[in-house]
Symmetry: D2
Subunit: 351 residues, 4 copies
């Protein structure tokens, strides 16, 4: 059994990977680390874990991070893992990070991301030397790099939905001028468990709230990844909307086709592109938000406009699974040379 440590264990991201690891045949959780609720049993923090996990949350410090484990999962705010990265690398301990710290190949790309992020004031990177050793964790595209990797930057939740949803279009240069318009819908859990006015049930229930219009920080990694696939600049005009639901991201993505394509041809191409990928499902009808809830699937479908000139691609993921801990689990499996499906066999919860 490999041993995993979760840092930021009491947030939704930490909880998500904890639950997956608890049912994983090859991993055990060696320790939980978090600033909030340190000293408490995790099933006191999350009563639904009763009889499933009774580990005590430890406060983070230089000694505790990386102690007695084979892999560290950082479900922490931006710029936390980069401070511990060199120490872990020196000791040969692998890690995966949920923030933007290790999603970018160069400090320049990171700086672009940092500038767009409302929570980051310092655009410099504190572990520059490790960037080239890190893999960007979209396993559907980069399994070669992730397999055996020591450092993985887990993608942003919206980025996961957009990149998987659009990769075949960009790889085939089907997108006129590389321009995509995306209206995305997300459940409230994407913002984490910290109470805030926007997440108050009385405000958000039955509501839809557009936010950070054209300025969300997940656009950077999406444009870089899609642009690299196409070999030319990709531009994503992105409007996120917060929904009064707990989970899920639905991306409705509009492109002008660079050459005429039927709907069937697009779906065929997607099926070919994702052949062998256990967590991408290309559907004949538009995916729904709940169709992936609780699972690691990314469901995708496409419709072509009556004039044949445009297509809309719709993708659905569970923001806490394929958008976060599910993809992390898949990446960790690859890091350790395991079957990417290990620990991820649960289907969507429906109804």
């Amino acid at each position: 059994m490999y041993r995993a440590q979760i840092v930021g264990a009491t947030g939704y991201g930490g909880l998500g990977i904890l639950e997956l690891l608890l049912q994983h045949p090859d991993f055990e959780v060696s320790s939980l680390v978090a600033r909030d609720d340190a000293g408490k049993r995790i099933d006191e923090v999350y009563p639904h874990l009763a009889s499933r996990c009774d580990l005590i949350v430890q406060a983070p410090d230089a000694a505790s991070i990386g102690a007695d484990c084979d892999v560290v999962i950082f479900s922490t705010p931006d710029r936390v893992s980069m401070g511990y990265a060199a120490g872990l690398a020196d000791k040969g301990i692998r890690f995966i990070d949920y923030s933007g710290d290790f999603r970018f190949a160069t400090t320049q790309h990171y700086a672009e991301y940092a500038a767009a992020h409302p929570g980051i004031s310092d655009p410099s990177h504190q572990a520059e030397a490790l960037l080239e050793r890190a893999a960007y964790g979209v396993p559907e595209l980069f399994s070669d790099r992730v397999t055996g990797a020591a450092i993985v930057g887990n993608p942003g939740c919206f980025a996961a939905g957009m990149i998987i949803g659009l990769a075949p279009m960009f790889a085939d240069k089907l997108v006129e001028d590389g321009q995509v318009i995306v209206d995305a819908l997300t459940g409230s859990s994407g913002a984490g468990k910290k109470p805030a006015p926007l997440q108050h049930l009385s405000h958000l229930n039955d509501n839809v709230v557009p936010y950070r219009v054209f300025s969300h920080q997940h656009v950077t990694e999406t444009e870089q990844t899609l642009g690299a696939l196409a070999g030319s600049k990709a531009t994503v005009h992105f409007v996120p909307h917060l929904l009064g639901t707990t989970r899920g991201i639905l991306c409705t993505m509009h492109v002008v086709l660079s050459r005429p394509m039927t709907r069937e041809a697009i779906l065929d191409r997607y099926r070919e592109f994702y052949a062998g990928q256990p967590f991408v499902r290309v559907l004949n009808t538009p995916p729904t938000l709940k169709g992936t809830a609780g699972s690691n699937y990314c469901d995708i479908s496409a419709v072509v406009s009556p004039d044949g000139k445009r297509a809309v691609i719709i993708s659905s993921i569970d923001n806490l699974m394929k958008g976060q801990s599910g993809t992390a689990m898949q990446n960790i499996n690859l890091m350790f040379g395991l079957d990417p499906r290990a620990g991820l066999d649960r289907g969507p919860t429906y109804p």
Copy 2:
């Protein structure tokens, strides 16, 4: 007091106008007509009406339609009101219709709509002679025609959100090539109260379901109206999404600007365009779904993309109010020369 008859009184549309008329200073409800629940007291059908209305629902027939009233409100399926129209017109009884029967100026335009409507098989119009006498009931644009009109075709709910949201852009020819991409979100009440798999709470709760992608029947009237404003063809690429909420329509509408505009300039232009309109509010921040719930407001805001070349316009309405009965009430007020605000002074329900 004017006397109003509601046909289709037991559906959500009939209920909506009933509630508005019950609080209107100048109207009383003379009779309720409906096929479903005929013979029952309306507060038996809708217990929340207890102590507010105890009228008995009457079955529809040639004698009952138009009896003892000054105006008939048809909240009925397509092709119902056109069968009664000539009879009412002969007797000089005004009417407003919630379906597409009287939204179009010509039989050709109607046929285009009928072809796009999944529920209409016969594209001919049975009251052709009356079409030129009917006003299309978007009071923000056509109050001159609606004022004093004998026949009004109330707009479709999505059309209301899109037309009010985009009219200034098209009137000023700000939309490159007349092309608009619209992702719209709607609560479940838009489909009416008839039980159906898609509206089952276990299916729709926490869900988002894209449907009729690029093929919704409200596009026809939207394109015709916006095109007429611009004096050139308008094309709306429209993707509706059903939400697990009861009320509300939020339209996120993307255009390429035909000339550079700042966000402030767009908002100023909207404020100027809608000056004096009591139910349009141009906001500095994106409107929310719940910000108009229960009211007759259409809230609108705009954001310009960082490159200055694109704008997104977001509009929010309550689909049962500004998208249906609220606009109908406003139209009826104009038909009778009353203040358009009469009976419509309730604000949004928040939280």
Copy 3:
């Protein structure tokens, strides 16, 4: 026009009375006072108020409280209004308070309440002399006292649902031993707009959370009021449950009947008891949570157990209306000798 000042104007209670006053024929809002958001326009705090109210929120201080108005509404935490009470009374300014400060006739009763309240540490009352001048604002029972009153203590939300729901049973001594078991359900808005873990949408959505089992502070005023009606001790075994909805309180109340009663006899008695009360509706079928939403109604029905020995009484109110600002508006109307229905004619929002 009478002039009203709202203290605590930026909370849900302040917002609720503001919206009612804005549509009231005999009142205008002279000023809004609140610690939070002082200096902002109220429609900046609550964008849905755009074009309805643009007053600037003032910070509370000795000078501002009671300035330039005929009545002050305190929608403030416990023990705030009692500090201003003497000053207002001296100047002859009427006030109504949403907290427990003026709900009790004696300091002894107040101390009992204070002991049960988790937020009150000091059980003494700072305006003892005024208690006997204050009316407890359940207008269905105490309109004589409230009419013309200078000080009114508005009831707690759960107390409103229980007292109106049970008053006829206690007045008629129909409750064996004065014992009632109540399971109550409440929407999240009852806890106010302050963000908190319990109100986070990701936690509360689709959830039901029992809390303060047998120890909620609204029991005190309920037992005192019902006991006084019966002339003997009343005991309420009360279990509140928080729901993932915004509004509404449904109380399911179980009693052993002190003498056999049919369901019809109970409903008849309720109808007789509440004859002439504009906001109590006695229904033949169980009330629903949404059946009163947005309105000032209290809906009530009853079912007798098959053995005829027990009854369940179910009441439904909107916690922010009949449970708070609606009742306050009704009380203010009585304080000023107006029709109790003034400004309260809006029906429930359905669907």
Copy 4:
């Protein structure tokens, strides 16, 4: 691998056991039978099953029922399985039934149930001879009988929540006069997937609807089971409430204690009673609806009233899991001598 056939496969009950069997190490699904959607692929009926199951739904007939399998799961309406029971028993094929057909030991008990059931007109039993061979499938109480059984009557969803929640109280004769008051809350999926006015999202969203007050058909089996445990008559005064959520049953159960008990003593007794039971969790704080969602757990806690004379027991289950397919899977495991936990290791979905 054992082979299982699901009859009524396209309803929520059939779907639930299908999903559990798909992940079960010792079972495979040999065929799906259902009247609705016969001839379709199951992942066409439920698109979220894409890539998980592509079986074609077969129409039910005498030949198909029981063909090529070791066990049949009947997720069918009352009085369906009793028609096939003798034929299956003759062939030595085991079966479990979700309806009330095999929950009762005698025809007398069945007739009592049938009389209370609004959907049953004929109170006779068509497979009387098999009743004594059937086990009532509450594995926490009757694992001895269920283990190796050929016929199991799966309990009603509310019955599961009440029986597990109250068994220790009745077994210890702690309930004065055997009287219990239960207010229960249930999500909409309990009524199945058939569209109906009560389950329409526009009606049920944000709503609570009390129904079948004192007359729900699950009371019969609950009273019989609890009464048998106590050795004296048990009476359950039961008020179900439908909630605007998809899943979950929360039962709040009030008793007068027959002898004084502290909360700690009650919880200790529950822990002792359920020692070794993998799916019962006795919590120190009240369980929540979402705390068991998606899992097979029954969470229970208790609070004693301040006067020490009463207790409230609160239980939470997922109505589709512990209330239906989860318990069925546990029973099937016991029928085949497997670990009761097999295929049921998924924890609750939170947030």
